[in-house]
Amino acid sequence: MHSKRLGWLLLAPTMIILFFFGVVPFFYVIWVSFHQWNPFAANPGKIFNWAANYRQVVFDAQLLASLGVTFAFVFFAVVSELVLGYLLAQAFMKDFPGKAFFRTIHTLPLIMAPIIVGSIWKLMTTPSIGIIPNLLQSWFGYNLNIGQSALAAFTVTVVMDVWHWTPLVTLSLIAALVSLPPDPFEQAQIDGAGKRQIFWHITLPMIAPAVVATVFIRLMDALRTVDEVLMLTGGGPGSATRYIGVHIFKEVFPRTNYGYGSAISVVVLYLTIVICWLLYVGLIAPRNTKKG
């Protein structure tokens, strides 16, 4: 029994931290979501209002529009990161002069705080002083103004996210590709399989768990993106880049509507869990079942 105690003792710090920083806030947000709570109002206390916040959620046109643009943002950002990340990972699998240097350089965006990334991109895309509008104007005659064009603002937020997070995907996929055994590839080449066949029938199925894990991480991150976008566009022009995280921020902090903000957060968490679970059931569970 002494050993069991030792095991639990070793696990205790992690479990205590998880309990106080994960479990307690989670249930607190659920509890707050059933209250009307504005600490700076005339009545600063929490008033229990059953599911009134959730009723408000399903009729909130601004929120539903935010969800729409968020899903579009997540789709374009994650798919682009996955494709680019895979291509870069394959490139880094080959030897070329300066490989170590380029690998280090390409991971630099990862170590930047999102608020810094937002600031850099704001400087780079501000008309008249930004390098990107100037280059686009002189090369293609295109006038990039993210303060006026909704499509331009949306595209720039996607490109910024891709720039920031593609290195994470690349590193995950390099780890997956390095761990693949060489035998199936050699056998496939002997059997006369082409590059495309090898990719679809050998590489992709073997790295699928790593791909899905990376997609989960990026999906969850992209769904709750706030600071970069808030810094770059402030959610505008209009509500073109008012992603769900930005919407919650504007609801909770400037308007101090904590109860309703919590209800939106719970709904977004629910959607995130359901999307990830569906991905898991669709892509990973059937493989485990076959193996089992």
Binding site: H2, S3, K4, L6, G7, L10, L11, A51, Y54, R55, V57, V58, F59, V267, Y270, I273, V274, W277, V281, A285, P286, T289, G292
Partner: protein, 90 residues
């Protein structure tokens, strides 16, 4: 197994003690089965699916059926019946 862990603990090898605890725990994962759901599930999966359905149905009810005068308690009753059915037959 317990003797093994005791032996490892006696040798003061915490990493191996944890590894053995994880291995022991894996053996305790509830049995999976295939019911009417299209995937193999254990009881926790079925409870999770029931909660997911309950939340989805509640939001749908708030948006479309409650304005017609149907109380949310009806939704809760339907969800409970569905949950019992999923947990027992899913």
């Amino acid at each position: 197994m317990i003797d093994d862990i005791d032996k490892l603990a006696a040798e003061e090898n915490p990493a191996l003690v944890l590894a053995h605890m994880i291995e022991e725990n894996e053996n305790r994962i509830p049995a999976e089965r295939t019911g009417f759901l299209p995937i193999q599930t254990n009881w926790f999966d079925r409870v999770f699916i029931s909660v997911v359905l309950w939340v989805a149905l509640s939001l749908f009810w708030f948006r479309f059926l409650e304005p017609l005068g149907l109380s949310i308690w009806i939704c809760l009753a339907i969800s409970l019946v569905a949950a019992v059915f999923i947990i027992r037959k899913g």
